[in-house]
């Protein structure tokens, strides 16, 4: 039996359900070990309109079954991305979405306009875990109105797929999910990293220069599965599960919990072949259990 690994998610048909998560795969030009045939798609490192230097070191700390990062969205800005990376992407056999960021609703919109129509840019993933500088630095993703406003601003400026990457530290992710769905999102990604802190006991201060960082890796997986499941229950658009996926079994948990596809991040640091291994493992699971496609997998998805 041949298993159909392709999935349709948020306006894109992907050859496989496993994508590379933003910030863990650069611009796709590194990680030579990955077998590209397995890659359903890729989300670029988060970018702002203008170049950003990022935060001083130390930027990462290991934690039990995870890591904190505070990269500070270091990046070359839209112009350099269009010049240096998009032309490469245009020739690749999987879609590349750009993870877009801003300090104001206007900045998200401007960045979208700048990137829309650039060959190689297959869609947008909105990172709403950015501080809203105009509104006192609260994350856009913590407030349904701000999250919807950003989504709308992007939606208005492009016909390409628009995915919204949800912030995990909210009291009800369903509210945010519904708000951005209504604002025109084609898919949701759940979830981004959780804010954490690690303390240096000699210096009596945080280990990260930025003080806090985002927790990723298997430590957060049960939380991410729950949030992705909650998001999937709350909306009609597809959800991509992200958070702590190391092996095929982990990806399958998200799929059964109601996700249409998954993104793999930190696992790639530990195993540069992780995405291929996960893709192949999902395929083997489907074969073993007699499912002919990813969509065939039974879902546990009682609707809200």
């Amino acid at each position: 039996m041949t298993v159909d690994m392709s999935v349709s998610v948020g306006g894109l048909r992907l050859r496989g359900p496993v994508l590379a998560a933003s910030g863990t795969f650069g611009y796709g030009t590194e990680v030579p070990l990955l077998e590209r045939r397995a890659l359903g798609g890729m989300v670029s490192k988060g970018i702002f309109l203008r170049p950003r230097a990022g935060t001083p070191p130390p930027r990462i700390v290991e934690t039990p079954s995870g890591m904190l990062n505070a990269i500070g969205l270091q990046g070359p800005g839209a112009d350099a991305l269009i010049r240096e990376y998009a032309p490469l992407w245009a020739s690749w056999d999987f879609p590349v979405l750009v993870n877009i960021n801003g300090e104001s609703v206007g900045e998200y919109g401007e960045l979208t306009s700048r990137l829309d129509g650039v060959p190689g840019v297959a869609g947008f993933e909105i990172n709403i875990s950015c501080p809203n500088v105009e509104q006192g630095g609260m994350y856009f993703g913590n407030d349904p109105h701000a999250a919807a406003a950003v989504t709308e601003a992007v939606r208005k400026r492009t016909r390409l797929p628009v995915w919204v990457k949800l912030t995990p530290m909210v009291s009800d992710i369903g509210v945010i999910a519904r708000a951005v769905e209504a604002a025109g999102a084609d898919a949701l990604c759940a979830v981004n990293t959780f804010v954490g802190m690690s303390i240096d006991l000699n210096a009596h201060q945080p280990r990260l220069s930025f003080r806090t960082g985002g927790l990723s890796g298997p430590a957060i997986r049960p939380l991410a599965v729950h949030l992705a499941h909650q998001a999937a229950r709350s909306v009609r658009i597809p959800v991509l599960g992200v958070g702590g996926i190391m092996r095929a079994e982990d990806a399958l948990e998200f799929l059964v919990a109601g996700c249409t596809a998954v993104q793999v991040g930190t696992a790639t640091f530990v195993n540069p072949r992780a995405i291929a291994d996960i893709h192949d493992g999902i395929k083997a699971h489907l074969e073993t259990h007699g499912f002919s496609s990813v969509a065939d997998l039974p879902r546990y998805l009682p609707r809200d």
Binding site: V31, A53, P58, M67, I71, A203
Partner: protein, 251 residues
């Protein structure tokens, strides 16, 4: 870049608590250059751990280390035949080229790590090698320093020059250095053109996470795992490297 399950071949002590671990990694042994590193996947810690390649012996590569935490302790406890996941060679090494007639290698503590390969490459290019190796005391000196000339330096004067390796070193046309960041900052003062191997925390080791930021004098950050770990000493903004952390103290 290769990803191998490398069997441990042997472990030998080169100073009290400091050991060389060799593992079979043919593709890496065949292609690694001085100053490059491998990122080792060990059972206990979550992330891989970066180690400079110390020597190459046939199909095996060697790394030298002390137990400073969970990963290094587990690596030192491994027995012949145990497997370690070995990713490499990674980064840009010293990139030696023919030209200079003499090379001075300056190492502090575990900063010996990239030096045997550097000495071998320098000699192959016709350079005369002077190796200056420093440690806190005679006990902590690595027993395997080598070169046409070897100069030892100890902080407590218990062997060789009483003082730092940097102070003990003669000038040379080419200076290569590895050790704690504060030592490398001193190297940068004396020899701005020296090539130094820097240590940072690393996430991926392959250039995708931007976790290994090295602050540059010119502004912005480089990736130690990709543009580094070897830098022109004057290019690094030493003052912006973290000082309050046990960071790059393994040397």
């Amino acid at each position: 870049m290769f990803l191998l399950n490398a069997p441990i071949v042997a472990t030998r002590e080169v100073a009290p608590g400091m050991a060389v671990v060799s593992m079979e990694a043919p593709e890496i042994a065949a292609s690694v250059r001085a100053g490059q590193f491998v990122n080792l996947g060990i059972a206990g810690p979550f992330l891989r751990r970066p180690f400079s390649v110390y020597r190459v012996d046939g199909e095996s590569i060697e790394v030298v280390l002390k137990a400073v935490g969970v990963g290094t302790a587990e690596l030192l406890g491994m027995r012949p035949g145990d497997l370690v996941s070995c990713l490499g060679p990674l980064g840009r090494g010293f990139d030696l080229e023919a030209g200079p007639r003499s090379a001075v290698l300056v190492s502090g503590g575990l900063g010996v790590a990239p030096m045997p390969l550097a000495a071998r490459e320098a000699r192959a290019l016709g350079m005369r090698v002077t190796w200056v190796h420093g440690a806190r005391s005679a006990r902590e000196l690595c027993s395997e320093a080598e070169g046409e000339e070897v100069i030892f330096a100890t902080d407590d004067g218990s062997r060789g020059f009483a003082g730092t390796a940097v102070a003990a070193a003669p000038d040379g046309e080419l200076v290569l250095a590895c050790g704690p960041n504060r030592m490398l900052a001193a190297v940068a003062e004396r020899w701005p053109e020296a090539r130094v191997a820097v240590e940072t925390y690393m996430g991926c080791g392959t250039g995708v996470c931007l976790g290994c930021a090295v602050p540059l004098k010119a502004g912005g950050y480089d990736r130690a795992c990709k543009e580094g770990p070897v830098y022109r000493a004057a290019a690094v903004d030493w003052a912006s490297l973290p000082s309050h952390l046990p960071y790059a103290v393994t040397a």
